[in-house]
Protein backbone atom coordinates (compact mmCIF):
# COMPACT_ATOMS: atom_id res chain seq x y z
CA UNK A 1 0.00 0.00 0.00
CA UNK A 2 1.26 3.44 -0.92
CA UNK A 3 -0.16 6.74 0.29
CA UNK A 4 0.64 10.40 0.21
CA UNK A 5 -0.93 13.57 1.50
CA UNK A 6 -1.04 16.33 -1.09
CA UNK A 7 -2.11 19.92 -0.68
CA UNK A 8 -4.52 21.16 -3.32
CA UNK A 9 -2.98 24.31 -4.79
CA UNK A 10 -5.27 24.77 -7.78
CA UNK A 11 -7.35 27.95 -7.27
CA UNK A 12 -10.59 26.13 -8.17
CA UNK A 13 -9.77 23.17 -5.96
CA UNK A 14 -10.17 19.61 -7.17
CA UNK A 15 -13.32 20.22 -9.23
CA UNK A 16 -14.50 20.46 -12.82
CA UNK A 17 -11.51 20.25 -15.15
CA UNK A 18 -8.83 19.33 -12.56
CA UNK A 19 -11.11 16.57 -11.20
CA UNK A 20 -11.67 15.26 -14.72
CA UNK A 21 -7.92 15.25 -15.43
CA UNK A 22 -7.23 13.50 -12.11
CA UNK A 23 -9.89 10.86 -12.83
CA UNK A 24 -8.52 10.19 -16.32
CA UNK A 25 -5.04 9.71 -14.83
CA UNK A 26 -6.30 7.17 -12.26
CA UNK A 27 -7.68 5.09 -15.12
CA UNK A 28 -4.12 4.51 -16.38
CA UNK A 29 -3.34 2.31 -13.35
CA UNK A 30 -4.48 -1.09 -12.13
CA UNK A 31 -4.17 -0.39 -8.41
CA UNK A 32 -7.22 0.25 -6.25
CA UNK A 33 -7.07 3.99 -5.54
CA UNK A 34 -8.94 5.88 -2.83
CA UNK A 35 -9.08 9.54 -1.84
CA UNK A 36 -9.97 11.32 1.36
CA UNK A 37 -10.16 15.02 2.14
CA UNK A 38 -8.44 15.10 5.52
CA UNK A 39 -9.08 18.83 5.93
CA UNK A 40 -12.82 18.13 6.27
CA UNK A 41 -13.43 16.23 9.47
CA UNK A 42 -16.61 14.68 8.10
CA UNK A 43 -14.87 13.31 5.03
CA UNK A 44 -14.58 9.57 4.54
CA UNK A 45 -12.20 7.55 2.41
CA UNK A 46 -13.82 7.02 -0.98
CA UNK A 47 -12.88 4.81 -3.94
CA UNK A 48 -11.82 6.97 -6.83
CA UNK A 49 -14.59 7.84 -9.26
CA UNK A 50 -15.41 11.11 -10.96
CA UNK A 51 -18.49 11.52 -8.78
CA UNK A 52 -16.53 10.88 -5.58
CA UNK A 53 -13.80 13.35 -6.59
CA UNK A 54 -16.44 16.05 -6.95
CA UNK A 55 -17.90 15.06 -3.60
CA UNK A 56 -14.60 15.44 -1.77
CA UNK A 57 -15.24 19.17 -1.62
CA UNK A 58 -11.49 19.68 -1.95
CA UNK A 59 -10.89 23.41 -2.17
CA UNK A 60 -7.60 25.26 -2.59
CA UNK A 61 -5.45 24.68 0.49
CA UNK A 62 -7.16 21.43 1.49
CA UNK A 63 -5.11 18.33 2.12
CA UNK A 64 -6.10 15.16 0.31
CA UNK A 65 -4.88 11.67 1.16
CA UNK A 66 -4.26 9.57 -1.94
CA UNK A 67 -3.93 5.85 -1.28
CA UNK A 68 -3.23 3.10 -3.78
CA UNK A 69 -3.00 -0.64 -3.38
CA UNK A 70 -1.88 -2.96 -6.14
CA UNK A 71 0.93 -3.83 -8.51
CA UNK A 72 1.53 -0.24 -9.66
CA UNK A 73 0.66 1.55 -6.40
CA UNK A 74 3.91 3.54 -6.21
CA UNK A 75 3.69 4.74 -9.79
CA UNK A 76 0.03 5.64 -9.35
CA UNK A 77 0.51 7.80 -6.26
CA UNK A 78 3.60 9.49 -7.72
CA UNK A 79 1.84 10.22 -11.01
CA UNK A 80 -1.28 11.61 -9.32
CA UNK A 81 0.71 13.86 -6.99
CA UNK A 82 2.77 15.10 -9.95
CA UNK A 83 -0.40 15.76 -11.94
CA UNK A 84 -1.86 17.93 -9.18
CA UNK A 85 1.38 19.96 -9.09
CA UNK A 86 1.29 20.32 -12.85
CA UNK A 87 -2.37 21.42 -12.90
CA UNK A 88 -1.69 24.05 -10.24
CA UNK A 89 1.35 25.30 -12.15
CA UNK A 90 -0.70 25.72 -15.34
CA UNK A 91 -3.07 28.17 -13.68
Amino acid sequence: MEERVVRIRHPFGLHARPAADFYRKTREFRSRITVRNITRRSSVELPVSLLNLLQLGAAQGHQVLIRAEGEDEREAVAALAALLDQLAAEE
Binding site: A16, R17, A20, R24, S42, V44, L46, L50, L51, Q55
Partner: protein
Protein backbone atom coordinates in the same frame (compact mmCIF):
# COMPACT_ATOMS: atom_id res chain seq x y z
CA UNK B 1 -16.02 7.67 -29.67
CA UNK B 2 -19.61 8.45 -28.81
CA UNK B 3 -21.12 11.90 -29.34
CA UNK B 4 -23.15 14.00 -26.91
CA UNK B 5 -26.14 16.17 -27.80
CA UNK B 6 -27.28 18.77 -25.30
CA UNK B 7 -30.87 19.97 -25.73
CA UNK B 8 -32.26 22.84 -23.67
CA UNK B 9 -35.01 25.42 -23.99
CA UNK B 10 -32.44 28.22 -24.02
CA UNK B 11 -29.56 28.51 -26.47
CA UNK B 12 -27.39 30.08 -23.79
CA UNK B 13 -28.16 27.30 -21.34
CA UNK B 14 -27.24 24.60 -23.85
CA UNK B 15 -24.06 26.45 -24.93
CA UNK B 16 -22.99 27.01 -21.34
CA UNK B 17 -23.29 23.31 -20.51
CA UNK B 18 -21.30 22.46 -23.64
CA UNK B 19 -18.60 24.99 -22.69
CA UNK B 20 -18.26 23.35 -19.29
CA UNK B 21 -18.09 19.80 -20.69
CA UNK B 22 -15.66 20.85 -23.45
CA UNK B 23 -13.29 22.32 -20.91
CA UNK B 24 -13.36 19.19 -18.73
CA UNK B 25 -12.47 17.02 -21.73
CA UNK B 26 -10.12 19.45 -23.51
CA UNK B 27 -12.51 19.35 -26.47
CA UNK B 28 -11.83 15.66 -27.16
CA UNK B 29 -15.49 14.62 -27.33
CA UNK B 30 -17.90 15.63 -30.12
CA UNK B 31 -20.52 17.70 -28.29
CA UNK B 32 -23.29 19.69 -29.95
CA UNK B 33 -25.53 22.12 -28.07
CA UNK B 34 -29.05 22.82 -29.31
CA UNK B 35 -31.33 25.32 -27.61
CA UNK B 36 -34.20 27.67 -28.18
CA UNK B 37 -36.91 27.94 -30.82
CA UNK B 38 -36.23 28.77 -34.48
CA UNK B 39 -36.78 32.50 -33.86
CA UNK B 40 -34.31 32.53 -30.98
CA UNK B 41 -36.89 32.66 -28.20
CA UNK B 42 -37.09 30.03 -25.46
CA UNK B 43 -38.27 26.71 -26.83
CA UNK B 44 -37.25 23.64 -28.79
CA UNK B 45 -36.62 23.24 -32.52
CA UNK B 46 -36.94 19.71 -33.90
CA UNK B 47 -35.07 20.83 -37.01
CA UNK B 48 -32.12 21.94 -34.89
CA UNK B 49 -32.22 18.62 -33.01
CA UNK B 50 -32.19 16.71 -36.29
CA UNK B 51 -29.22 18.70 -37.59
CA UNK B 52 -27.41 18.30 -34.29
CA UNK B 53 -27.87 14.53 -34.24
CA UNK B 54 -26.61 14.26 -37.83
CA UNK B 55 -23.50 16.29 -37.05
CA UNK B 56 -22.31 13.81 -34.41
CA UNK B 57 -23.84 10.59 -35.72
CA UNK B 58 -21.40 7.68 -35.58
CA UNK B 59 -21.44 3.92 -35.16
CA UNK B 60 -20.60 4.32 -31.47
CA UNK B 61 -23.81 6.20 -30.76
CA UNK B 62 -25.08 9.43 -29.23
CA UNK B 63 -26.07 10.26 -25.67
CA UNK B 64 -28.67 13.03 -25.39
CA UNK B 65 -28.91 15.22 -22.28
CA UNK B 66 -32.01 17.39 -21.87
CA UNK B 67 -33.20 20.10 -19.50
CA UNK B 68 -36.89 19.14 -19.34
CA UNK B 69 -39.32 16.46 -20.52
CA UNK B 70 -40.55 18.31 -23.60
CA UNK B 71 -36.98 18.40 -24.91
CA UNK B 72 -36.81 14.62 -24.56
CA UNK B 73 -40.18 14.24 -26.35
CA UNK B 74 -38.91 16.39 -29.22
CA UNK B 75 -35.82 14.21 -29.57
CA UNK B 76 -38.02 11.08 -29.56
CA UNK B 77 -40.15 12.58 -32.32
CA UNK B 78 -37.07 13.26 -34.47
CA UNK B 79 -35.74 9.73 -33.87
CA UNK B 80 -38.91 8.20 -35.34
CA UNK B 81 -37.57 9.33 -38.73
CA UNK B 82 -33.99 8.24 -37.97
CA UNK B 83 -34.29 4.52 -37.17
CA UNK B 84 -30.64 3.80 -37.96
CA UNK B 85 -29.22 6.12 -35.31
CA UNK B 86 -27.98 4.63 -32.02
CA UNK B 87 -29.25 7.12 -29.48
CA UNK B 88 -29.91 7.05 -25.74
CA UNK B 89 -31.90 9.89 -24.15
CA UNK B 90 -30.70 10.33 -20.58
CA UNK B 91 -32.75 11.01 -17.48
CA UNK B 92 -29.67 12.56 -15.86
CA UNK B 93 -29.63 16.13 -14.53
CA UNK B 94 -28.30 18.32 -17.34
CA UNK B 95 -25.13 19.90 -15.95
CA UNK B 96 -23.91 16.94 -13.91
CA UNK B 97 -24.91 14.46 -16.59
CA UNK B 98 -23.17 16.30 -19.42
CA UNK B 99 -19.98 16.69 -17.39
CA UNK B 100 -19.86 13.06 -16.20
CA UNK B 101 -20.79 11.70 -19.62
CA UNK B 102 -18.25 13.82 -21.47
CA UNK B 103 -15.37 12.74 -19.22
CA UNK B 104 -16.41 9.09 -19.48
CA UNK B 105 -16.69 9.36 -23.27
CA UNK B 106 -13.23 10.97 -23.39
CA UNK B 107 -11.65 7.76 -22.06
CA UNK B 108 -13.30 5.71 -24.78
CA UNK B 109 -16.36 4.44 -22.89
CA UNK B 110 -19.25 2.79 -24.73
CA UNK B 111 -22.67 4.38 -25.10
CA UNK B 112 -23.99 2.16 -22.28
CA UNK B 113 -21.10 3.05 -19.95
CA UNK B 114 -21.45 6.73 -20.72
CA UNK B 115 -25.20 6.65 -20.11
CA UNK B 116 -24.60 4.96 -16.74
CA UNK B 117 -21.99 7.60 -15.80
CA UNK B 118 -24.42 10.41 -16.61
CA UNK B 119 -27.13 8.91 -14.41
CA UNK B 120 -24.78 8.91 -11.42
CA UNK B 121 -25.14 12.68 -11.52
CA UNK B 122 -28.45 12.19 -9.72
CA UNK B 123 -26.57 11.14 -6.60
CA UNK B 124 -24.01 13.93 -6.55
CA UNK B 125 -23.70 15.56 -3.16
CA UNK B 126 -22.86 19.23 -3.70
CA UNK B 127 -23.07 20.50 -0.15
CA UNK B 128 -20.77 18.42 2.09
CA UNK B 129 -22.20 20.27 5.09
CA UNK B 130 -25.54 18.50 4.57
CA UNK B 131 -25.44 15.85 7.31
CA UNK B 132 -28.28 13.89 5.74
CA UNK B 133 -26.19 13.35 2.62
CA UNK B 134 -25.18 9.74 2.02
CA UNK B 135 -22.07 9.03 -0.01
CA UNK B 136 -22.39 6.13 -2.43
Amino acid sequence: MIGILIVAHSERLASGVKEFADQATHGQVPIVAVGGAVDGSLGISTEAIRNGLRRIASADGILVLVDFTSAALSVEAVLEDEPAMRVVISNAPLVEGAYLAAVEASIGATLEETAAAALRGRDLIKAPSDRRARYQ
